[in-house]
Amino acid sequence: MVVGLIPADALLDDGDADRVFHALADATRRDILARAIEREQSVSALARHYEISLTAVQKHVTVLERAALVSKSRSGREQLVVANPETLRRANTLLAAFEQLWIARANRIAEILSEEGEKR
């Protein structure tokens, strides 16, 4: 695998990446994640924002947790949901890398076209 300048730990292995993208493919989970990024909060506090059962919210949190996007911690009787910025960073790295590849490609196309323009 060609990793070049990319730190190896910036990459997800295939299984990890699948879990991350599956987790982010649901609007409610993205919303839960956005709220957890703002500040850590309990599952029951999160559940107040949605018209689904507490159990359903817990299931969403579990999917996010398996993807390592959030982690859970206990505070007394409450379960707190905390965002995991390292995994978010990795998921975005994949997309940003591809974006950079295409920006560089477009710039090389511009160079080829400008050379052709000079020859005419």
Partner: protein, 165 residues
């Protein structure tokens, strides 16, 4: 500035990039159609592409490889699905094994190119639709050694934006 905008959509596994060139649509079409031009921009610096086959017609296939600094070779293939010269191109882009032939069961990514004339210039939209993350990662592994310093900076900025970093 060549690239006007780009959108990455993690949810849809899609990248959309719009660039503008000081050239006619016919000239921009040429960098896709002519394999000798195509191989000058497809592979990143240090990984030049060589197209050994490039059938630029509907149903036509291409075979290429990129040669890394250690002489390592990375094989890929295209299949052209739609051609409307010089406006629209749709193709599948997949991974090939060491024999240069497509790896069965590895679904290719879909590429769409749209060219639009804009007062003597040409606007090019390229949309890449990935099917699954495995495909996306393999594709990145072939050509991502470039520009990553910049990409990581952008990610830091992005995370700052949502209060994470």
């Amino acid at each position: 500035m060549t690239v006007i905008s780009s959108i990455t959509d993690a949810e849809q596994l899609r990248l959309e990039l719009v660039a503008e060139f000081d050239a006619s649509p016919e000239q921009v079409w040429g960098v896709w159609e002519d394999p000798r031009k195509l191989e000058r921009w497809w592979g990143p610096p240090g990984y030049p592409a060589t197209f050994t086959r490039h059938e630029f017609e509907v149903g036509g296939e291409s075979r290429y490889y990129m040669t890394g600094p250690e002489g390592d070779k990375h094989f890929g293939w295209w299949r052209i699905d739609v051609i409307d010269e010089p406006r629209h191109l749709a193709f599948a882009n997949g991974f090939a094994g060491a024999d240069g032939e497509p790896v069965p069961d590895l679904v290719p990514a879909a590429g769409i190119v749209e060219l639009e004339s804009d007062g003597g210039r040409t606007r090019m939209l390229v949309r890449t639709q990935f099917v699954d993350v495995e495909q996306m990662q393999r594709m990145l592994a072939m050509g991502m050694q470039e520009g990553m310093g910049m990409a990581l900076t952008q990610i830091d900025a992005l995370l700052h934006g949502v209060g994470v970093a």
